[in-house]
């Protein structure tokens, strides 16, 4: 007697499948016919137009969001969420204004210091950016003023009286190695100061 093969028995069990009854079959086919009648076939051209509509919507959204992000990012500082957007747009702006990158870096140093945030890295970036500029660029002087050895800024001075509190005073920032601030400048006086009034920075020569 040949040994029994379970796979043969499994295949033979196909014969045991009970057929769908005529009544069930008729009901199923009727339901299928109704579903086919209700089916909305979208023509190819209409499908393409739907795709185009979505593409147009995406372009419009991108056209609004991207410029907005660029405008907002223009005031961002290192560490801000949109700072990378600002850096990404600079090569494009540099096509029209070769000093834009250096100007951004210098302004970032000023803004970071005004916010009492670390600016050493920003100053390094500013130095690198200014190194690429012509030797007669006025931005070099601005960078010199910001250098950690001696930076002279004019800020609203705390004074003894309320009347003098809104006046300005000259503050000298000494090198990081020196832990004390002095009221006297440690570098030769120059004919140029960076004056800060109510958050605005302007350079006077």
């Amino acid at each position: 007697m040949s040994p029994r093969d379970p796979l043969d028995e499994l295949k033979a069990s196909q014969a045991s499948i009970t057929p769908v009854s005529d009544e069930t079959r008729a009901g199923h086919l009727l339901a299928i016919d109704e579903a086919l009648a209700d089916r909305v076939v979208v023509p190819f051209g209409q499908r393409v137009s739907v795709v185009l509509r979505w593409a147009a919507a995406a372009v419009v959204i991108a056209g609004v969001l991207l410029p907005s992000a660029i405008v907002v990012a223009a005031d961002s500082l290192p560490g801000d969420a949109l700072y990378s957007v600002k850096r990404a747009t600079e090569p494009l702006l540099a096509v029209f204004d070769s000093e834009v990158v250096a100007r951004h870096r210098i302004n970032e140093v000023v803004d970071l210091r005004l916010q009492d945030r670390p600016a050493d890295k920003a100053l390094e970036d500013a130095t690198r950016a200014v190194d690429d500029l012509p030797s007669d660029s006025p931005l070099r002087d601005q960078l010199t003023d910001l250098s950690p050895t001696t930076t002279t800024t004019t800020t609203p001075a705390p004074a003894d009286t309320d009347a003098t509190r809104t006046k300005t005073r000259t503050r000298t920032t000494t090198t990081p190695q020196s832990s004390t601030s002095t009221t006297a400048s440690t570098r030769p006086p120059t004919d140029r100061t960076t004056t800060t009034v109510e958050g605005d920075t302007e350079t006077d020569r």
């Binding site: 029994r4 499994l10 196909q14 499948i17 979208v42």
Partner: protein, 198 residues
Amino acid sequence: MDVIADELDRLVEGVVAGKNHAFHRVYDLLADRLVGFAVRRLRDRGAAEDAVQQAFLELARTSSSFRGDGASLRAWLYASVRFRCADEHRRRSRRPEQPTDRLPEAAAPEPMDRWRSPELTSAMNALTQRQSLMLELRHVDGLSGQDIADLLDMKRPATYAALDRAEASLRKAFTEAVESSAPAASLPVRKDDPHVTS
């Protein structure tokens, strides 16, 4: 040669176009096997037929976007029925038991259980659920390895390897079931066997 897949190949175009006669022919080719497949999952003939109907209705609604050949169409229908069976299982597990005066239809043994030998039933029960599913799809429903791979979301080489392992496990379990079911007294014993003492 897969005759059903070949005929399904010729019907796919009509199915995509939503032709009634193509749907009717696909139904006639596959409905019995799909119902059998669902019955094995659900142990309930009525629920199995509902699952198959829902699968065909879904195909009728969405076939305009179907891309593939006849084998793919068959695998798609099996997958659809399988998912509906899984949904039904989940529904049953959430549904609290209701007292009823009549016995549920599922209590009656299914024809396939009655037809299979006790040894084969025992051997199939010894396999994992996935192994028994693969073997039934391959040897009862006649699906190809590629179809099973698509249906179970597996790579084709892994599917063939798993099928080989399942078949080996089935043979081993079947042999054990046959040996354990054979009564020791009925084994032929030589009268001059020196180990046999009277």
